[in-house]
């Protein structure tokens, strides 16, 4: 281990040599791998090759799908798609990188595919592609039916067979691949191609389209899940019936189609009615039309006949009138004669009623006599009646009734006078008694009763009752009334009026003289009496 330049037993390689060695090593060691990963940044270059990356949680690898391989793949690489790819590893010496060349690609599991489809369905639905308002009803009886399907196989046979059975029509078949590379593009081209046909052109424009395919795996039916196919179906101006796969398979084109048939045969049934049924229906309608209008006429003519029968017979109408006319004519002819006869009769009758004057006068005389006789009788009867009435009235006119009435009056007056006198006497006596009684009551209340108890009434000379001592002046002549009579006394001296009353001055009863408090009231009481 000496020397400035180390000795190498390793051969010196160029970068290209190493890269080439690496490439060989890698390609030999990984000539065929199955790799699972998520697609990231897929890009289709102008060359038609597709560049993408596959990644998982910890690593990433570049990947390439050559143009030729791309066309064979059943699915387009999309961002985020979980796929299992088969291919070989290689290196790219120019960039010091390694990559996988994808030869086949499938979705990682059915769940992932369904998830993808569901997401796509939701996106397209949000755009309104599946709106019920977009659906149009195919015509009841189309002239031309456009069928987009594989030209070989059971599907087209089933459709043609059923159309032929029900109602033979003109059928245009646009042959397409129904699976694998390019299938979706062909279907899109066919739908657009049919829609592009002009009305009345060399190739007749169909009234209805059927897009059909037999049953298959989910991957087999993928072309009918392609967005481009779904959009083409939704945009078709010709009503479109989809019949893809079995009844249980639902592809996205079914959502966009105007009608979805469970099977290709079902699509044919939806497209055309049953001719025999219609023929029968038309036959019946024709029969009903004839019958109805026939009945209408029969009915009207019967009614007309009935009405005509109701019209009276003209001959008979005339016969009646003729008869009446004849009768009148006859009567007209005989009328003058009968009129004359009638008049003659009237004259005769009138003449018979005429009287001679003498006869008339006799009758008038008789009448007059009868009247004068009856007049006399009436007069006599009147006088007699008046006399009778008078005698009746005068008989009723008598004085004794009046006399009786006078007597009765007189008696009544006498009785009343007696009763008056008696009542007067009794009344006088009653009044005297009452006066007496009152006198006694009066007496019991008078001062005399007081005098009896020892009181004395003092009067002055003019007879005025004195009730106060000051009213007695000295020397005044006083009259004292006792119960049994009066005595005159003279007052002593001329005592001043303020002097207390002398016992004799007031001449009170000895027992009561000292009873000062009661004096005045007693006197007042007496005065009031």
């Amino acid at each position: 281990m000496t020397g400035s330049s180390p000795i190498h037993n390793l051969p010196e390689l160029s970068v290209s040599e190493l890269s080439g060695a690496l490439k060989r090593t890698v390609e030999e060691a990984f000539s065929r791998v199955r790799l699972r990963g998520e697609i990231s940044q897929p890009k289709v270059a102008g060359s038609g090759h597709c560049y993408l990356r596959l990644k998982d949680d910890g690593a990433v690898i570049d990947a390439i799908i050559w143009r030729g391989t791309m066309n064979k793949l059943s699915l387009r690489p999309e961002e985020g798609m979980e796929v299992i790819v088969t291919g070989k590893l290689t290196t790219y010496p120019g960039r010091s990188s390694y990559q996988i060349i994808i030869e086949d690609m499938e979705l990682a599991g059915e769940g992932a595919l369904l998830k993808l489809l569901e997401e796509r369905r939701r996106r397209l639905a949000a755009e309104g592609l599946f709106e019920p308002s977009r659906k149009r009803r195919p015509p009841f009886l189309p002239h031309v039916i456009g069928v987009i399907t594989s030209p070989t196989g059971a599907v087209i046979r089933d459709i043609l067979h059923r159309v032929s059975d029900r109602f033979p029509r003109r059928v245009l078949i646009w042959p397409v691949k129904v699976q694998g590379e390019g299938a979706a593009e062909e279907v899109v081209r066919a739908i657009k191609g049919f829609n592009a046909l002009p009305q009345g052109g060399a190739v007749p424009r169909p009234d209805v389209l059927i897009v059909a395919r037999g049953g298959g795996s989910l991957e087999d039916l993928m072309a009918f899940n392609e967005e481009s196919v779904v959009r083409a179906a939704a945009e078709s101006t010709i009503p479109l019936i989809s019949a893809v796969g079995h009844e249980t398979d639902v592809t996205l084109i079914d959502h966009a189609a105007d009608l979805r048939a469970p099977t290709p045969t079902g699509a044919a049934e939806m497209a055309v009615p049953v001719r025999m049924d219609l023929l029968a229906q038309m036959g019946e309608a024709g029969g009903r039309l004839e019958g109805a209008v026939g009945r209408l006429f029969t009915d009207r003519s019967m009614r007309l006949e009935g009405l005509a029968r109701g019209l009276p017979d003209l001959d008979r109408l005339l016969a009646d009138a003729t008869q009446r006319l004849d009768e009148w004519a006859e009567r007209l002819a005989s009328a003058p004669i009968r009129l004359l006869e009638h008049r003659a009769l009237v004259v005769t009758q009138t003449a018979a009623r005429l009287r001679r004057p003498g006869e008339l006068i006799d009758r008038k005389v008789q009448d007059l006599t009868r009247i004068s006789l009856s007049l006399d009788g009436a007069m006599t009867r009147l006088v007699d009646q008046a006399e009778r009435t008078l005698s009746q009235v005068s008989g009723r006119l008598r004085a004794d009734r009046i006399i009786t009435q006078v007597d009765q009056g007189r008696r009544a007056v006498g009785t009343l006078a007696d009763r008056l006198v008696g009542w007067g006497q009794r009344d006088l006596a009653r009044r005297a008694e009452r006066v007496e009684a009152l006198g006694a009551r009066l007496e019991s209340l008078s001062h005399h009763r007081v005098l009896e108890r020892g009181y004395v009434v003092v009067r002055d000379e003019s007879g005025r009752v004195l009730t106060e001592a000051k009213a007695v002046t000295g020397g005044a002549l006083l009259s004292l009334s006792f119960k049994d009579g009066e005595r005159s006394v003279r007052a002593e001296g001329d005592a001043p009026p303020t002097t207390p009353p002398a016992p004799e001055g007031k001449a009170r009863a000895p027992r009561k003289a000292a009873d000062k408090g009661q004096d005045r009231r007693q006197g007042d009481l007496l005065d009031g009496l």
Partner: protein
């Protein structure tokens, strides 16, 4: 009944233009109306004539039951053309 223009089929043009379904629907309503028996006789005649024409139109459409199957192919100029398809 008003004079309608006659088309090449001898049918009034307005009837010839009807689809089978429209013609059948109108025929049905005419039959119903006549069967009710309340139509005026003058109008009944017109309705009957129209009904007959409608039925003829429908019959023509029903008679036209030819099955032809053609295959579409696109020419080099991109224009579609048809050719009979046999053997299906």
């Amino acid at each position: 009944m008003t004079e309608s223009a006659k088309g090449p089929t001898g049918l009034p043009e307005d009837i010839a233009a009807l689809s089978f379904e429209q013609a059948m629907g109108e025929l049905d309503s005419i039959v119903r109306e006549l069967e009710q028996g309340t139509v005026e006789l003058d109008r009944a005649v017109g309705a009957y004539e129209r009904g007959v024409a409608l039925k003829r139109h429908c019959d023509v459409k029903l008679r036209d039951a030819r099955m032809t199957v053609e295959r579409i192919s696109i020419g080099p100029d991109g224009a579609p053309s048809t050719s009979p398809l046999d053997g299906v």
